[in-house]
C-alpha cells in the first residue's frame, strides 16, 4: 500500500466509525485507483475545483463517496476536519456523491447506472468544444447490471470518445453477495472489449499497473479505453475482505475499536 493510499484508508475508517455505519467495502476497493487519478493522472487544481481546463472524474458508483471525499480532502480541496461530518445534518458530505455539495465532485450520483452517461456526455461536450481535457469514470461491477451502462458504452464507442476512460471496479461483490451468483456477467473484460472499447484488466491495488494502464489509454486514439480493475472489496480491512456482507457495515462498539486500532496502526507505519 502506498503512503497516500494508506492515508486515504485511515480517513475512510475514521469517518465511517464516527458515524457508526457506511459503505465500507466499495470505498476501500477503489483507493488505489483514486490515488493514481488524483496524484498522477488527472490535470486538476484543488484550489479551483471548477477550473474549466481540469480533467473530470465521475464516481458512477456514488455510494463510495467516503473514498472520494478522503482523497479530495487529502489533495486540499477542503479541510480534512470536514470528513467527520459525513452524513450529519446539513453536511457537505452526503453518503452519495453530490456535485452541488462537495468541492471537487463533478457529478451527482447514487442511482446506479447514471453516472457513466453523464461522464460520456462531458467527454462528448469536450470533443464538440475542441478541448483536450479527459474524463474518467468509475463504475461498480454490480452496477454493470444496469442496462444504461451499456447504452453509455455504445455511445462512447460510436462517438469515438478517446478522451473517456471507463474504470470498472471488479471487486466481485454487490449488495446481496457475489455478482456471479446474482447475475453471472462472465468475463467482463471480454464483454466490454466486444463493444469495441480498448479494454485491459489490471490489478486494481497495484498503483504502478494502474499508471501504465492510464498511459496506454492516452496513446489510444479513436476509441475509449476501459480499464477493468481486479480488486478486493473492503481491501485493507482484512477481517472484512471477501465477506459478502461488507457492502454497508453497521458497526458495534467492538468493531469500531478494531477499525480504529487498524487506522492507528496504519498511521504508526507512516511516521
Amino acid at each position: 500500500m502506498t503512503e497516500f493510499a494508506k492515508r486515504v484508508r485511515i480517513e475512510i475508517v475514521r469517518m465511517l466509525v464516527k458515524r457508526g455505519f457506511g459503505h465500507l467495502g466499495g470505498s476501500m476497493s477503489i483507493v488505489e485507483a483514486l490515488s493514481v487519478l488524483y496524484n498522477n493522472e488527472m490535470s486538476i487544481d484543488p484550489s479551483n475545483p471548477d477550473w474549466e481546463d481540469r480533467d473530470y472524474f465521475v464516481l458512477s458508483k456514488g455510494h463510495a463517496g467516503p473514498a472520494l471525499y478522503s482523497t479530495l480532502a487529502l489533495k486540499g480541496y477542503f479541510n480534512k476536519q470536514l470528513l467527520l461530518t459525513l452524513n450529519e445534518p446539513h453536511t457537505k458530505l452526503p453518503s452519495h456523491a453530490d456535485r452541488n455539495q462537495t468541492p471537487g465532485v463533478d457529478m451527482t450520483t447514487g442511482s446506479l447506472g447514471q453516472g457513466i452517461s453523464a461522464a460520456a456526455g462531458i467527454a462528448k461536450a469536450l470533443k464538440i468544444q475542441g478541448k483536450e481535457n479527459r474524463v474518467y469514470c468509475m463504475v461498480g461491477d454490480g452496477e454493470l447490471n444496469e442496462g444504461q451502462v451499456y447504452e453509455a458504452i455504445m455511445f462512447a464507442k460510436h462517438h469515438k470518445l478517446d478522451n473517456f476512460v471507463l474504470m470498472i471496479d471488479e471487486n466481485k461483490l454487490q449488495l446481496d453477495g457475489f455478482t456471479r451468483d446474482i447475475c453471472d456477467q462472465g468475463d467482463i473484460t471480454r464483454k466490454i472489449a466486444s463493444f469495441g472499447l480498448h479494454t485491459l484488466c489490471v490489478n486494481g491495488h497495484d498503483e504502478a499497473a494502474i499508471k501504465s494502464a492510464f498511459d496506454e489509454a492516452r496513446a489510444i486514439k479513436g476509441v475509449p479505453t476501459c480499464i477493468v480493475l481486479d480488486t478486493i472489496k473492503a481491501k485493507g480491512v482484512e477481517f472484512l475482505e471477501g465477506d459478502s456482507s461488507n457492502h454497508h457495515v453497521r458497526m458495534d462498539e467492538e468493531q469500531k475499536r478494531v477499525l480504529l486500532d487498524l487506522a492507528n496502526k496504519w498511521e504508526g507505519e507512516l511516521a
Binding site: 458515524r19 450520483t109 442511482s111 454490480g142 444496469e146 446481496d176 447475475c183 457492502h247
Partner: protein, 317 residues
Amino acid sequence: MSVKLKKEFKTADKEMRLTYNDTMVKLAKADERVVLLEADLMGSIKTSGFQKEFPERTINIGIMEQNMMGVAAGLNIRGLKPYIHSFAQFATRRAFDQLFLSLGYSQLNATIIGSDAGVTASHNGGTHMPFEDLGLVRLVPNMTVMEMSDPVMFENILTQLNEKDMLSYVRIVRKDTLGVYEEGSTFDIGKGVVLKEGNDATIVASGIMVASALKASEKLAEEGINVSVIDMFTIKPIDEALLHEYADKTKFILTCDNHNIIGGLGSAVLEALESHPVKVKRLGVKDRFGQVGPQDFLEKEYELTPDDIVKAVKENL
C-alpha cells in the same frame, strides 16, 4: 374493517421488512403462484428467509429495476403473482415507463412494494429519498396506491392483495415504525379509517404521518381543540364519500404527507373535494429534494412533526 387502536405510541413489535418476509412466506405456502422479485436489495429488505424456503420462487434479478418490471409482466402472463420490491424511488421513478406500459397499460398485475418512504430513507440522502413516488404511481390508470401505517396493516393488506387481481403499489417504511393498530385489526382497501372524532378540523394522513397526526391531536385536545383523524391508507382510489362527510362535519381539512405536497395524499384529497368545496391545507414536503440526516432531523427540516401539525391546525382554524 375492524380496527383497534393501540393505547400508546411505541415502536411496533416487528420491523416492516420482517413483516414482509414472514407474510410472504405464509402466502407462498398457501399459493404456489406467489413469486418474489428483488433487485439486489434483499439484504436491505431481509427476505432471505423467503429465499431459503422458496428458492425457485425467488428472483433476485440484479440491479435492473426496469428489467424487473418487464420480467414481472411476463411472469403474470403465465399466471404467476409477482411481488416486486425495491426502494420506493427505484421501484417507481427508475422503472416508470416499464411499470406504466409493461404492467399498467398491458393490464397485467403485480404488487409493487416501495420501501424507505420519504424521510425514512434517512442517511441514504437525496438520491434515495422518495418524495414523488405516490405522485408517479397515481398517474397509472387503474393502479391501486396505498401507504402502510404499521406492520399490522401491512400484513393484512398483503394478505388481501393476494386474493385480488390488480396492479398495486404499497409504500412502506423499511425498518422500525410506530405501532398504530392492535394485532388482528383488518382494513378495507379503498376505505379510510376514522381514528378519532372531533368537530374542529379533520386531519387526513397516511404512513408515518398517522402516528404524528394522532400525537398532534392529543396536544390539540389539551388546548381544547378537537380534531378528527383519518388514516387514508388507500390513496387511490381515495375514499371520496368519507372525505365529503368530514368536509361537511368540520371546518377544514388538513392533509399530512411524508411526500411532496404536489402529487401525494394532499393532492388526491383536493381532487376528491373538487365539487365539494371545503378549506383544505396541505402539510408536507414543499416541493424540495431529499437530503441526508437522521429521521428526526429530517422531520423537523421538512416541517412534518406533530408540532408542525398542531401549528398548521391552529393557523387555519
